[in-house]
């Protein structure tokens, strides 16, 4: 505004005092803003062209949305963010922040980590890239395999963030899912013989095939109650064929296991026909491959769904460290509801409700809470 005022004053002696000085100043301010954004755009474009001519390293602070418009750069950036010299938790956070376009609070929620801790992690990771000169490149073939694992983890987290957005009103942020799937496809092109790449892509496609059925009029619909005619059959077919191709390689891994589980869900024509017994068995294998409380939670839920409610609840109650995870309470609540233990179910729904960050999820939990409270 000050600049506009100066421009107005310098123009007055020549043009005479305009009829409405206020209007003129406002118009000039707009012109100034436009000029300035043009100047900044030109400056950015110059910087961009310089950046792409010098492929070695870039300053992390220059990672702007404009830089994301080049697909190959996304991949280069991804390998940089996932460089093994960076602590793995930070790799994932950094990629989400840089390539996923997520805010720090969203990432913190996806990680079940306090926001301040995550912000620190990001700062340290960026400093490490800068100070240690971590290269900005897709690694050469001989180093590719070792670097893939963290890239896969990152892509899957982006997908999950999109599939069940931590905050906000929309249950599915399709753009993030599409982005994760796209990056998954690029990875498969880079290393097509790596079955976990295929498994990861299959897993994302199979989950994503249910996107349309997961919410109706903005309300969350559980897998059991989803309208299966709304599943994306093309995505399911591609997902299943990818899982089969991956498993034929004979080197099973966590993504292939999860994709196989998702395939069993997708193959069931109706929810009641779901092969929960096999799903529970797959979860058990998965738990052995990559022990994690969240997988143990899913295994407990699958055991419960296979008809062994008390056994499933027992497995879930044994878990520790998930007290701040809303799905832990939601899963307990669901089993307790099925067991007819309405008071305890209501209490667990209440706790889940207090932790869910997404309005769609909150509404679903409130609805259930109302049902068991009746």
């Amino acid at each position: 505004m000050q600049e506009a005022f100066a421009a107005a004053l310098s123009a007055w002696p020549e043009k005479g005092i305009p009829q409405s000085p206020a209007a003129w100043i406002i118009a000039a301010a707009h012109r100034k803003i436009i000029d300035q954004s043009r100047r900044e755009k030109t400056k950015r474009e110059k910087e961009d062209s310089l950046r792409y001519e010098t492929p070695s390293t870039i300053q992390p602070d220059e990672w702007t949305e404009e830089a994301m418009q080049f697909p190959d750069d996304r991949l280069r950036l991804m390998f940089t963010c996932c460089h093994p010299a960076i602590n793995q938790e930070a790799q994932v956070a950094l990629t989400l922040r840089t390539l996923g376009g997520l805010t720090t609070p969203e990432i913190a929620r996806a990680f079940l980590t306090p926001e301040a801790t995550l912000a620190q992690r990001l700062v340290r990771a960026k400093r490490k890239i800068q100070d240690a000169c971590i290269p900005y490149e897709v690694p050469p073939a001989h180093a590719l395999a070792a670097r893939l694992e963290s890239v896969q983890a990152v892509i899957y987290l982006i997908f999950n963030e999109g599939y069940s957005a931590a905050t906000g009103d929309k249950l599915v942020r399709g753009d993030l899912c599409n982005e994760a799937i796209r990056l998954g496809r690029v990875l498969c092109e880079l290393a097509p013989s790596e079955p976990e790449n295929l498994g990861l892509l299959a897993l994302m496609l199979l989950h994503d095939s249910r996107r349309e059925a997961r919410s109706v009029d903005g309300k969350l619909v559980t897998l059991e109650e989803q309208d299966r005619s709304r599943f994306d059959r093309t995505a399911i077919a591609e997902g299943i064929s990818l899982v089969e191709r991956a498993l034929r390689v004979g080197s099973p891994g966590p993504y292939q296991m999860q994709a196989a589980i998702a395939a069993l869900h997708a193959e069931a024509g109706e929810a009641v026909n779901t092969d929960w017994r096999q799903i529970a068995a797959l979860y058990e294998r998965l738990l052995k491959m990559s022990p994690s409380p969240v997988i143990a939670l899913n295994r407990g839920a699958a055991v419960a769904m296979s008809g062994r409610l008390a056994e499933g609840l027992g497995l879930i109650d044994e878990l520790t460290g998930l007290d701040h995870y809303y799905l832990f309470h939601a899963a307990r609540a669901d089993i307790l509801r099925r067991m007819g233990r309405r008071g305890e179910a209501a209490e667990a729904y209440g706790r889940a409700l207090g932790l869910a960050g997404n309005r769609v999820e909150q509404e679903f939990l409130s609805r259930r809470l109302g049902e068991v409270g009746e």
Binding site: S56, T57, H83, A85, D131, A132, C133, I134, P135, E137, P139, A143
Partner: protein, 120 residues
């Protein structure tokens, strides 16, 4: 970017046998020769074992001298290289060539960038 590569080696009783010692020296020489030929070697030197270490610090204005290293660790600092590298990946390749069994047991290389005085 110059990187300092700190060699951490496990001290073992008896150290290296004569044959191992000669192989070890050859390996170091080969890295130094290659780095020199490429014009990227800034410096490299071995350290005497930690039994020779003395730690000095000022406490309450007084000079405090103690026998031994600053920290007792499983692996001991045994030597260093300073190599001018393209980036961390390049530094990693060099580090992979440097033998670490200087004190008997093999150890690891810690890579630290040298930003220079102007940057700090």
């Amino acid at each position: 970017m110059r990187y300092m590569m700190l060699i951490y080696s496990k001290e073992t009783a008896g150290g290296l046998s004569a044959e191992e010692d000669s192989r070890h020296r050859m390996a170091h020489r080969s890295v130094m020769t290659e780095a020199t030929e490429k014009g990227v070697l800034v410096g490299a030197e071995p350290l005497d074992p930690v039994s020779s270490a003395t730690t000095v610090r000022i406490e309450n204005g007084k000079l405090l001298v103690t026998d031994g290293p600053f920290a007792e660790t499983k692996e001991q600092l045994a030597g260093y290289y300073i190599i001018d590298c393209v980036d961390l990946e390049d530094a990693k390749q060099w580090a992979a060539k440097i033998p670490t069994a200087c004190f008997g047991g093999s150890g690891c290389i810690e890579i630290r960038p040298l930003p220079g005085l102007s940057k700090k």
